[in-house]
Amino acid sequence: MEKNPDKGFVALLGWSLNAVEAAETFDRRYVVVAPDWAEEYCEKHDIPYIPWNFERLNDRSMEIAHTLQEKGVDVAIPLYEETVEWAGAINSVLLDKPKLFGQAMLLRDKALMKRRAQLGGIRVGIFEEAHDKEDVVRFLKRVNQTLLKLDGDPNDPIHLKAFDKAGCLGHRVIRTPDEVDTIPDEEFPVLMESHLDGWEFAVEAWVHNGKIRFLNISEYVTLGYSGFVPATPELEKYREQITAQIEKLIKTFDIEFGFVHPEYFVTNDGEMYFGEVAYRPPGFKVFELLERAYGFNAYQGLILSFDPKTTEKEITAFFPKEVVDAKGVAGCFGVYPRRRVVSKLEMPAETEDHPYFESHELTPPIEETVTKRTAFGTHWGLIYFFGDDPHTMRDLLKRQEDLDFYV
């Protein structure tokens, strides 16, 4: 697409084909900053590209910031959890706002981020860092003591999460001290949280000039398996409360522009608990689902919300009105084999024949033995659905959990 020299010039940190496609077909100039394995592909397809390996921040970090500055780049956009601190470091140079780097570090560490949220008056569950297995056992006991459980009562579970990994990676649920032994030593340190009984959901919010421009609520049917947008009316009825929470969040974290992806619990009494927040696009193809449901390209929305040259008029015109403008409900389901030994992929006829079924990304099995699922989120491929009714969608996604895709 014809590039507009009066608009911003953005750098995409990390390789995402869908993001590149969005940038290519948008009026902003762009450059992809990605590891050198992407070079051949970019050259072949004339994609503007700068090689960079995103290891831990080091003394060469300024180098990429200056390279981008010389090229005239206005802002860097993180596409993955691992590039969030890079974007912070780079943007603090490009935009001459040193505090952006500190903000990014805050958003990368789940323990720090919870403290900050707590300081801002946002409700969080009980949490603590664990450095070894003993810490975990102690926390499990103390949480259950607090809940006035007697010896012999079933424990309430606790959740363990890596400090700096995206979404469900490294997420474990622990119920008994015995289970603690299954955690490999190299996973420490971890963040421990008490379990909140309630309804977990995620929010995607595009922010520009300190204001929310589009707020989506993604409903999870079962965490790690499925999600859909827009949510059911039962969840959407909290939209006003949720919006207030997000406003509090961006104020607490001092977020002026960009995109946040927090997770919350709403308990039975309607209280919101903050889980965590990420400063990058969500997993589980939520952007793709949004495009399917609303027709706007969520990555282009990302570019708009980061670009300092975006005008008020432009961004207002870009985003549709939440829920009412949706053409339908888009959902996806992550397949994990239910059997221990599988030989082939076989789409259940009931799935494929459902009018909501759209497409799937499942591939034939490479190995016959299925490794035991230790954490959330390692699905074998996604199935996409689209239809009119959020309740039908919810039940349909739930139903998929009982089906065999690999036999």
Binding site: V20, E24, H45, K344, S359, H360, F386, D395
Partner: protein, 679 residues
């Protein structure tokens, strides 16, 4: 789950599915090339659902152009429908991978839209599309008429239904009752050209035979004409009429007397010469007859007095060849040998000794491996090669280039087999034994080992045994000769052809295209010289002596330029209707083509010999762009009639030369627009 889905009438889902598919196609279409793969899933999954609905295939057919334009086939073999091999469709449609089945279905429906004229395709003509689909249906006849087998259901599930629905739709649109008859006609048309490679034809005939033998399949009144084809393969004579298997047939032969054997021999010979196909039983008989005297051998090969004489003169050689080359799996060797004997080429002093060398030729490891990959290991590679050598010597015009851009090499092999058989045998020996061929170019040796790349970027596999081994070498040498001509003015074939093909390619050279601009150049002068060199009325009634390499501008049925193509001019003479025709060899596997603007290449019925193509002289001249001639035999330039040249020039201007007319011509036309193109 909502249950209202299940209650709906068949096909009721279709409008909704089509709307989704159209959206998916649009999303694919608007994506830049590099991210199309991420948009393809919705199209393939959407198309799959549509194809499973009643009326689905028709709906896809209607969207064929949009589906292709969006980039569904980009980056896959299906992006070039003109190179798709019909017989591979059976494998694709039987795949357990849904995407392979769906994309093959989309491609076939696209070809159907082209065949029916609804979609004017840039690289595929309606006629070729039609041929392609006839063959696709032929190769899938069983699938078309039979419910899925247990094995198919197990491996394919509902995909088996999808393939059937697709084939049913194709058959319906092409016309059910004509499929088998058209197929038979198609097989005969191909067989009339007597290709060396008969495997695809044999597969199609086998499919017909299977369908005929199956009581569940109602072919109606069609398929009557298949009897000769089926019997020539599976039961050409009294003693194997019911296809008893070669073991039983061998036992029967043991108990036959002279008269019975004579009957068998003539029966096989007739079937073989009728069709060009050889039954495996024929090989059993021939090996049996090797101990019963040369008279019966001659009968079994259907030899005329020329062939019989040759057989008797070289009896020991023929027996050795039968012993080593003729087996049930290599039965075509019999046809090759029979025609070779008929050609009398054994009387050329070097040929018989060269064949003895061939009989004991050790093959390199590489050659053995290539032959095993292409033909399997049921017979030893050297036996396979011997069969190939006999077939090429017997059917020089049956050489095909396969789906490879190596028309030059295929033409050279054919020309040598036709004109210089011992040289061909020398090439085979070098290639098969030494993995190297050296040809000299202007005094400098060119080695096929030292030359890195040829015209073809991958090693061809779809070739006869001789071509399989020799073509890669020739292709590299040909490309190297081209590289050595870089920087010379004009077309490199001027120098390459005589050195590559043989001394008999005339050193005089004419071309009617300016290489630098691609525009036509002194067209009339070019044509006048062609007439004076080759048209018997203007060259002193001199029949063509040696086959000559000729370059043509290949055009499709819409007379659009496709590319430059190498053929051999074999002879120019009057046909049975007293029309002056050019008879030529086309290395393209199927020579019966429609070249557009009324020019249809004939392969039978106008005095052609097996493997020859022919066109009336003027029509042939209208596609010509390069020829060689002997500058010392200039003919009668002045007596070539202007009207005839004008007609040819008009044809050139209407077809491949339409956008090659030099500017000054256009200016002239502007001055007097009413006089047409020839001012």
């Amino acid at each position: 789950m909502t249950s209202d889905v299940d209650d709906q009438a068949p096909g009721a889902l279709l409008p909704g599915l089509l709307q989704r598919l159209d959206e998916a196609i649009e999303a694919l279409d608007s994506a830049p090339d590099f991210s199309k793969p991420t948009r393809l899933r919705r199209v393939l999954d959407g198309a799959k659902r549509v194809l499973l609905q009643e009326g689905g295939p028709a709906a896809i057919e209607a969207r064929a152009q949009a589906i292709e334009a969006a980039g569904t086939f980009t980056g896959s073999d299906w992006a070039w429908p003109e190179i798709l091999i019909p017989s591979l469709s059976a494998h694709a449609l039987g795949s357990h991978d849904a995407d392979t089945v769906v994309i093959e279905a989309l491609s076939d429906l696209r070809i159907l839209a082209v065949a029916r004229g609804a979609y004017l395709h840039p690289t595929l003509s309606a006629e070729n599309a039609h041929h392609h689909l006839t063959q696709v249906l032929a190769i899938n006849l069983q699938r078309l008429f039979m419910p899925p087998s247990e094995a198919e259901r197990e491996s394919q599930g509902r995909l088996a239904q999808l393939a059937r629905a697709l084939l049913g739709h194709l058959a319906e649109r092409i016309g059910y009752e004509h499929i088998v008859d058209q197929l038979i006609e198609e097989i005969w048309r191909i067989l009339q050209q007597r290709p060396i490679q008969t495997e695809p034809v044999k597969q199609m005939i086998t499919q017909i035979a299977i369908c005929q033998a199956n009581p569940d399949i109602d072919l109606g009144s069609s398929g009557q004409g298949a009897d000769r084809l089926v019997s020539s393969l599976f039961g050409p004579t009294q003693a194997c009429r019911e296809d008893p298997g070669v073991e039983i047939y061998r036992d029967r032969l043991e108990r036959m007397d002279g008269v019975a054997l004579q009957n068998e021999a003539t029966g096989f010979a007739r079937a073989m010469h009728d069709t060009g196909l050889v039954s495996p039983y024929h090989a059993v008989l021939l090996r049996h007859l090797a101990d019963h005297g040369d008279h019966l051998l001659s009968e079994a090969m259907g030899l005329s007095s020329t062939g019989r004489d040759c057989l008797l003169c070289y009896s020991e050689l023929v027996h050795a060849l039968i012993d080593q080359a003729v087996f049930a799996e290599t039965a075509q060797a019999i046809y090759g040998m029979a025609l070779m004997l008929e050609r009398g080429i054994l009387y050329q002093p070097p040929v018989a000794p060269a064949l003895w060398r061939q009989l004991s030729l050790p093959l390199s490891a590489w050659s053995r491996e290539r032959l095993a990959i292409a033909f399997g290991e049921t017979v030893p590679p050297r036996t396979r090669l011997l069969e190939g050598v006999l077939c090429m010597l017997g059917q020089p015009l049956g050489v095909g280039q396969g789906n490879n851009p190596t028309c030059q090499s295929a033409r050279a092999l054919s020309m040598w087999a036709y004109n210089d058989p011992d040289y061909l045998l020398q090439m085979v020996a070098w290639a098969a034994r030494d993995d190297e061929i050296i040809i000299h170019f202007e005094g400098q040796p060119i080695s096929s080992m030292a030359s890195l790349s040829g015209v073809a970027t991958t090693l061809p596999i779809d070739l006869d045994p001789v071509s399989l081994l020799v073509v890669p070498h020739l292709d590299r040498i040909y490309a190297e000769m081209g590289r050595r001509c870089i920087g010379r003015e004009g077309d490199p074939h001027r120098w390459i052809n005589p050195e590559f093909h043989g001394w008999w390619s005339g050193r005089g050279f004419r071309i009617n295209v300016d290489v630098a601009t691609g525009k036509l150049e002194s067209l009339e002068d070019f044509l006048r010289h062609f007439y004076a060199s080759y048209h018997p009325y203007f060259n002193g009634n001199q029949p063509l002596i040696h086959p000559q390499p000729i370059g043509i501008a290949a055009t499709d049925s819409a007379a659009r330029f496709i590319g430059w193509h190498a053929i051999t001019l074999l002879r120019v003479s009057l046909d049975p209707q007293d029309v002056m025709r050019a008879y030529f060899y086309n290395p393209n596997n199927d020579s019966g083509q429609n070249w557009g603007d009324g020019v249809e290449v004939s392969t039978a019925g106008c005095g052609e010999r097996f493997g020859e193509s022919s066109l009336p002289f003027e029509e042939f001249a209208s596609r010509l762009y390069i020829f060689h001639y002997d500058p010392l035999e200039h003919g009668e330039l002045a007596s070539v009639p202007q009207e005839s040249l004008d007609r040819v020039i008009a044809m050139v201007h209407r077809t491949w030369g339409a956008d090659r007319i030099p500017d000054e011509h256009l200016t002239l036309n502007l001055d007097s627009p009413a006089t047409g193109t020839e001012a």
